[in-house]
Amino acid sequence: MERQDLFLMNTYVAEYTIRSSSLTQAWLLRLNALLPTLRMGELFKVTVLQRSVSFEFEGWVQVNRCSLVATSSDLEGFSYLVRKDFESHTLSEEHGFDGRSEPTLDVAPKLFGLMPRGAHIENSSPLYPFELSEKEFLWAKNVTRLYEEAKQNQWSADTDIDWAAIPDLDPVIETAICQVMTYLAENEFSALYIPGKFLSKISPYYMELVMFLGTIIYDEARHIEAFSRRANAKKIGLQYSTTATQRSLYSLFIEKDYFKTSFLLHVLGEGTFLDLLDFLIKYAPDPVTKKIVTLAKKDEQRHVNYGLVHVKALVQANPKRIAYLKEAVDSRKVYLDEMNQENELLLSSLAILAGGSDEEGYALGYERVEQLKKRMGENRVRRMIECGFDEETAKEISMSHTANFM
């Protein structure tokens, strides 16, 4: 085919006419920005009016790994048909976040960096160390819905809590509340840091999960704020942290496996917390504290729901994974058994809230806490069965679960 014909035919996908008398920085930017939008082998046409610019444009073609397919000159100027000779991007056919679609790939594309799913990846992009890039180990079918729910159920410790309405309570009761709040805030730090720790390892390709974990982190921040503020609302303030709680949280914090952590934190830990929060909703001495705990529980339920669906899918795909999870609980137990596991300050405070501080009331409160522990155990077993565990194993795991609840 005559080279001239190439100009006549509709062979090119973009066309520019450079009228300026030099190849300006602006034109250089425009030409450079054109290249990524073209595929290897695609043609574009450029006409320049001045000879000096034609020298420069030919130079641009040379240094930008393109080649001249055809040239022509007439009174109007110089025309070039240029071919891009390299592939700069891997195109994506996926949509990004739309609240409906799921990531289609079982493994995130290798060069998928900090970008939304659906973006076209440049081939010279750096390789991020996203260790968690397999859908099976991350994804839960409900994650997009949970993200939507999280957005709709945001609350504010400023506007949703009437801090001024907290009554002056008996100092013993107030102290018990402050102790419970201290313990809750400690545990919420754990629930904030752990998703944070894994977040940076998850490929952004699974962006709904990344965004959902983002909501978890903010949920926990809000809980930490609200529990701390409740403790400090009156004169008594934050109380004692305990080694028992810290050792339990530490043993969770150092777990390196996301699947194990998801089970330990969301299913066993936060699951158990739902019962604890129910208990506090029932026995908290004032409506403001009840409201804080009620709002927090709603958030925690979402976190548990992610864990349940996530763990269930993995266990269904391979029931042998139950043994893997049991191993995580067992090895944690070995560490925890080295010392007293129970946070006695917490349990005592719960007894006071549930029964009272005199001998009779405390004994009643103690009984109610014992019943709470029993209920926690039963619900743990129920949740595990929901995830596909057999009852016997679920009971064993529940028995081995930390006495710190989380």
């Binding site: 920085q25 250089l28 020298f55 420069e56 130079g59 790994r65 000779d85 081939n123 010279s124 992009s125």
Partner: protein, 268 residues
């Protein structure tokens, strides 16, 4: 020691990054390759002639000097960007300089004396037009980074400043450097290229041991690089190529003019 040593001139810190990528890739492909850095091409050429290295990544000037002393030397491989490399002459827009002939009786400044693109070839283009230096025009030069054969481009930036200060009427440089100058906003609004050269050949991998066993292996290794990998893409971007090409007849002819120019300037 690796079975194949490649000599490379360290004209920029990125040279190390480029060759670390190539070396890692070679290791992965079980190809036993290492590189040695030289501070200048003269030493590298000597090391090649002394067989202290097996191959040298040479400029066109270094290649021709090697070939002069080792007639069996062969150019194996180049970057696609080394084929049809070009130079330019730049002058002020309002200077009435439109062609090389217009440089008669003018002050022309070139880059380093060992740079094919900024001095040797441009000066030869003027001679071909009948313009002898310091008879028909004033020849000046800025010798920056001698030994690097113009790789750093520094002399070209130096003479650009001098042109802007009207110390000279025209300068010569590589087209690729001019592109970089535009990008950096250094090209000035009143400067224009008025001449662009024919294409000539630039760097190549030089071998002086005929029928050496590593030659085919090396060429196949380089040509077979997986351009879909981000480390390779990155290396290629830093080294400004989209693919390696074998040095064929056409590419070899691209050194002829430079050879004549170097003879004329007594640069061998």
């Amino acid at each position: 020691m690796a079975s194949l040593m490649v000599g490379v001139v360290a004209y920029d810190p990125k040279v190390v990054l480029i060759w670390e990528i190539i070396r890692d890739y070679a290791k992965e492909k079980k190809f036993d390759l290492d590189y040695v850095l030289f501070s200048n091409y003269e030493t590298q050429v000597q090391a090649l002639l002394d067989k202290k290295v097996d191959l040298a990544w040479n400029t066109n000037v270094a290649w021709l000097r090697t070939k002069k002393r080792a007639p069996f030397a062969e150019a194996l491989l180049m970057r696609d960007s080394d084929v049809d490399f070009t130079s330019m002459f730049i002058a002020h827009e309002d200077s009435n300089i439109q062609t090389l002939e217009d440089l008669k009786n003018k002050r022309v400044c070139f880059g380093s004396g060992d740079s094919a693109q900024a001095f040797i070839l441009p000066a030869y283009y003027l001679k071909e037009q009948g313009l002898e230096p310091n008879r028909d025009y004033t020849m000046n030069r800025v010798d920056s980074d001698l030994g690097k054969h113009g790789d750093t481009g520094r002399s070209e930036y130096d003479i650009l400043e001098k042109l802007k200060n009207n110390e000279y009427d025209a300068i010569a440089l590589a087209t690729s450097t001019w592109m970089r100058m535009i990008e950096l906003g250094l090209s000035g609004s009143s400067l224009r290229p008025f001449y662009k050269s024919r294409g000539y050949s630039h760097c190549n991998f030089t071998n002086i041991t005929p029928n050496a066993s590593y030659v085919n292996e090396f060429v196949e290794f380089m040509l077979g690089m997986d351009t879909q990998r981000s480390d390779i893409t990155k290396m290629m971007e830093m080294e400004a190529l989209s693919k390696w090409v074998k040095t064929g007849e056409y590419e070899l002819q691209g050194y002829n003019e430079l050879e004549q120019a170097m003879e004329w300037l007594n640069l061998f």
